[in-house]
């Protein structure tokens, strides 16, 4: 019995409602990429499922003008992918600022850039 208790002591202790946070895993267009065809949408894949009603993706051009169409949505088959449609983009550099609330309610944010080639 004592041996069992010792083993249990060593096994337990790390558990609990461990909560990770939604991190950017990949994006289309990719982070820092230069694309030849202007994208029609931004799709960010996170490390966790996200709540679209409380998350956002804002895309701005070099002059600071908004180029996204508003509230994002999650992909129909994957709640880890957040998508926002874009206005028609011209050549130039664009900044993407995202705020994510994962389904476990934790907030994360980040930004990256991509370029549309002339």
């Amino acid at each position: 019995m004592r041996k069992t208790l010792m083993i249990l002591f060593c096994m337990v202790g790390f558990a609990g409602q461990a909560i990770a946070h939604a991190r950017l895993e990949s994006a289309v267009p990719p982070v820092g990429a230069t694309v030849s065809t202007p994208p029609k949408q931004i799709a960010i894949t996170f490390s966790e499922s996200v709540e679209p009603a409380f998350s956002s993706i804002e895309v701005t051009d070099a002059a600071g003008n908004r180029d996204d169409t508003g509230k994002p949505q999650v992909a129909a088959d994957d709640r880890q992918v957040l998508i926002v449609a874009l206005q028609p983009l011209g050549p130039g550099a664009y900044k993407v600022v995202w705020h994510a609330v994962s389904v476990d309610t934790h907030k994360t944010q980040g930004s990256y850039s991509f370029t549309v080639a002339p």
Binding site: M11, V12, I19, A53, V103, D104
Partner: protein, 315 residues
């Protein structure tokens, strides 16, 4: 010492921890009355058994009320945080938005409904079928916690974590949640009845501890983030505190089982019962601290994330 950047603050983590603890207490109380207590009460004088039931009911209603208030408070605080609201009016306005548009809101509302149904299921009777229905409702309410955590949100390839977390929560409820009713029972029980109750509780408790160990191992190390996350992050430190508390809990449980329980059948039974009663109270308080520590863990970036920026040779 790593920085403790608790999301929402310590008060928020406390509300969340109390909410979960009260929910587990509801289930633990019902399991105690349904599984542990019946043969013990049957061996007692009817008046003494009736008094025990009155005390038990007060504990149950208190736990249900605390669980409802805790879940409601958590919903209000979390809604404000999710919507970025600051004032009280804005926080209240955010609640329906969160309820209708997030998994968290939906799960909390379902939990509130399940908890509110517990008194309705019991009614004025403590018959086993009614207690079983109430226990099933409380188990569903407790298990819903698994839908709010990392296990449910991490997704692809980690679906097993949701099952593991569910079992972990239910085992914690059945072990730690039974400590308050056991303490109340021991306070005024004849030594023989106290001994029988402790024997029956210990059998169930050991099963729960084994289940806790297995599920904790399944979830643990990866989320802590290895040695770097364990020693270099607030998450790791909190997990260490939880491990320490768990170790003390196991030691107290072992003392209760191997020291006080045999004495209940000896010539110092009354003294042993009082000592056992105090010991179970300490165990219950430590159990609450373990759950509060889990509440803090949920408010911290997990070690596996936070450790990524650390310079540590053993990652």
């Amino acid at each position: 010492m790593p920085p403790f950047d608790i999301e929402g603050g310590l008060g928020f983590a406390f509300v969340r921890g109390i909410s979960v603890a009260a929910c587990l207490s509801v289930l633990g109380a019902l399991v105690f009355r349904l599984v542990v207590a019946p043969p013990v009460l049957a061996g007692m004088k009817p008046s003494a058994a009736a008094e025990q039931d009155r005390r038990w009911l007060r504990l149950l209603w208190g736990s249900v009320a605390a669980a409802l208030l805790g879940a409601g408070g958590w919903l209000g605080l979390e809604s404000g945080a999710m919507a970025g609201a600051t004032g009280i009016a804005d926080r209240l306005a955010a609640v329906p938005l969160v309820v209708l548009n997030s998994r968290f809101g939906m799960v909390l509302v379902i939990r509130l409904g399940l908890l509110a149904a517990v008194p309705l299921a019991i009614g004025r009777s403590l018959r086993p079928p009614r207690l079983a229905i109430a226990a099933a409702l409380a188990a569903a309410a407790a298990a819903s916690q698994a839908s709010l955590g990392h296990a449910a949100s991490i997704g692809h390839g980690f679906e097993w974590l949701a099952l593991s977390t569910t079992l972990h929560i239910l085992a914690a409820a059945i072990w730690l949640g039974q400590l308050p009713p056991l303490w109340i029972f021991l306070a005024d029980a004849p030594p023989a009845a106290a001994g029988l109750a402790l024997r029956r509780f210990s059998r169930l408790g050991l099963t729960c501890v084994i289940l806790l160990a297995a599920t904790a191992s399944a979830q643990g190390w990866g989320l802590v983030g290895g040695v770097a996350g364990f020693v270099g992050t607030a998450y790791g430190w909190t997990a260490l505190a939880k491990l320490l508390l768990f170790g003390i809990l196991l030691a107290i449980a072992a003392i209760n089982r191997f020291t006080f329980m045999p004495r209940l059948a000896s010539g110092v039974a009354a003294t042993a019962r009082r000592a056992l009663c105090r010991s179970v109270l300490v165990e219950a308080i430590l159990g609450l601290l373990v759950i509060l520590a889990a509440g803090i863990l949920t408010s911290l970036p997990p070690g596996m994330d936070a450790a990524q920026g650390l310079r540590w040779p053993y990652r």
